[in-house]
């Protein structure tokens, strides 16, 4: 018995019997840093873009204060995106099964009878990750240019303002999908990003392949111990 044992998927010493530990604390913290900074930047950005939404600057102390809040949330977002990418890069690489999953829309739109057992993330989640990654980089780089647009040729600066808004349009719309499928659309999911545990049944249904791999690994580890 080692001094510190990784929580196994069926760890009976865990207080949650019949539950599976899906995400690490680090994953959850990075997720909420990314989500929180992204949402706050979206909120302040919308407040700057839509003059009629003056309740946002009214709540946050005016447009000038909001400008700096927007910039700082963008900096947090940039660091969180780097951390998230390092963490989820491997998980989010596409595999052949993802095509099979995507052809059936994951069983979300019609009854799918041939869904491959899922990995840690399904093809839709992977697509969301890559969307946030690619368009997040666009937002960060264009945001950097917008911080000091006088340092670059004016044509480039104008493109930055346009692309900043365009990339946000994509991320914000996809974010609503993420919000729905992470809560109402998939009961039992949202807790994975809070305390990290999901029911075994949930994991068999959504992450069959990942669960089997984890259990196999845990079995080997306990035999070795």
């Amino acid at each position: 018995m080692g001094p510190r044992k990784r929580k196994g998927v069926n760890d009976m010493s865990a207080k949650k019997q019949g539950m599976v530990y899906v995400t690490t604390l680090q994953e959850r913290i990075v997720h909420w840093l990314l989500a929180g900074s992204c949402l706050f930047a979206l909120l302040t950005g919308l407040g700057l873009m839509f003059h009629s939404w003056d309740f946002i600057p009214a709540l946050l102390g005016g447009h000038y204060a909001m400008k700096w809040m927007h910039i700082f949330s963008g900096v947090v977002f940039a660091f969180a995106l780097v951390a998230a990418s390092v963490m989820w890069w491997e998980h989010c690489k596409f595999v052949p099964d993802d095509l099979k999953w995507a052809m059936q829309a994951g069983g979300y739109l019609w009854d799918a009878h041939d869904l491959p057992p899922g990995g840690m993330y399904n093809a839709g989640q992977k697509l969301f990750f890559w969307t946030v990654f690619v368009f997040g980089i666009v937002v960060i780089v264009s945001g950097l240019i917008m911080f000091n647009p006088l340092a670059v040729p004016v044509v480039l600066a104008r493109w930055a303002y346009m692309l900043h808004a365009g990339a946000v349009m994509v991320i914000a719309s996809f974010f609503i999908v993420h919000l729905y499928l992470g809560t109402f659309g998939n009961p039992g999911t949202v807790q994975i990003m809070f305390h990290g545990w999901a029911t075994r049944e949930y994991c068999e249904f959504h992450k069959g392949k990942w669960l089997a791999d984890r259990e196999k690994k845990d079995g080997e580890e306990s035999q070795a111990a």
Binding site: F50, Y64, K67, R158, M162, V168, I176
Partner: protein, 262 residues
């Protein structure tokens, strides 16, 4: 309120810089410490404290070397890109006199107007964290007076008056000197016009835009991506709700439990 036009007749400018000085006087702008750069143009560029500048150009054309003096300041666009780009309500406004006015009380120093402007007019002060530019002396013209630069001009190069009369005057003068009215793009109107003599091509002069228009990127930003951020989010939220009502949540033991479970 009447809409006004300032007409700059390049055939009459002698480069005396009375307009430049009058602008500083009326707007209470401090002088700048400058040096000789090989040109009579001084200071070298517009700045936070220089809203109006006589530019000196030496151009070659069919009649040989020409020395062109040009009064350069805000063009007061009818459809101003700076106002469209500005995120802070009230910081940049096009008034019903036709003047595009900035208000330092509301400017948050984001510099979007500088990027958007097709004429490169607004100037930023890092110290003040704000922009400044020519206001067409909005405070004077709403009081029935002419802009300070026009009042000071001794040659009749700068004239000012209600829009309709000034447009007719510009056309007549352009015909008289066989020149052009700039900008004469009917799709991009400004409340400042130039009479350019036929011997001069606008493209030969420094700090001009021969074909001014609202930048396409600004249009895409404000007219497409801006509304579609909300439309996109709303449409997806509607679709999600519809999905919830039609298909219901995605569950292992939903009403449509698949065959072949364990």
């Amino acid at each position: 309120m009447t809409e006004y036009i300032k007409l700059i007749d390049l055939t009459k400018c002698t480069g005396c810089r009375a307009c430049q000085v009058a602008c500083k006087n009326w707007n209470d702008l401090p002088a700048e410490s400058t040096g000789f750069t090989g040109s009579l143009q001084n200071p070298a560029d517009l700045s936070y404290n220089t809203w109006c500048l006589i530019r000196f150009d030496e151009i070659q054309n069919s009649s040989g070397m020409n020395w062109v003096m040009r009064h350069d300041a805000c063009m007061h666009c009818e459809w101003p890109a700076c106002v469209k780009a500005c995120p802070s309500p009230g910081a940049l406004v096009r008034t019903d006199t036709g003047a595009v006015v900035h208000d330092p009380n509301y400017c948050i120093g984001c510099k979007a107007c500088i990027v958007a402007c097709p004429f490169d007019i607004p100037r930023y002060s890092a110290e003040q964290e704000k922009i400044a530019k020519c206001t067409l002396c909005h405070d004077r013209i709403t009081d029935g007076r002419k802009p300070a630069c026009v009042t000071a001009c001794p040659t009749g190069c700068l004239t000012f008056g209600p829009k309709a009369g000034m447009l007719a005057k510009a056309d007549a003068r352009a015909l008289e000197v066989q020149g052009v009215v700039y900008p004469r793009n009917p799709k991009y109107r400004t409340n400042v016009l130039y009479i350019i003599p036929r011997t001069i091509d606008v493209a030969q002069l420094q700090h001009t835009n021969p074909n001014p228009k609202m930048p396409t990127t600004i249009l895409w930003w404000k007219n497409l991506f801006k509304p579609f951020t909300l439309i996109g989010m709303g449409a997806v939220a509607g679709a999600a709700m519809l999905h919830y009502m039609v298909r219901g949540p995605h569950e292992p033991h939903g009403p449509e439990k698949k065959e072949g479970g364990e």
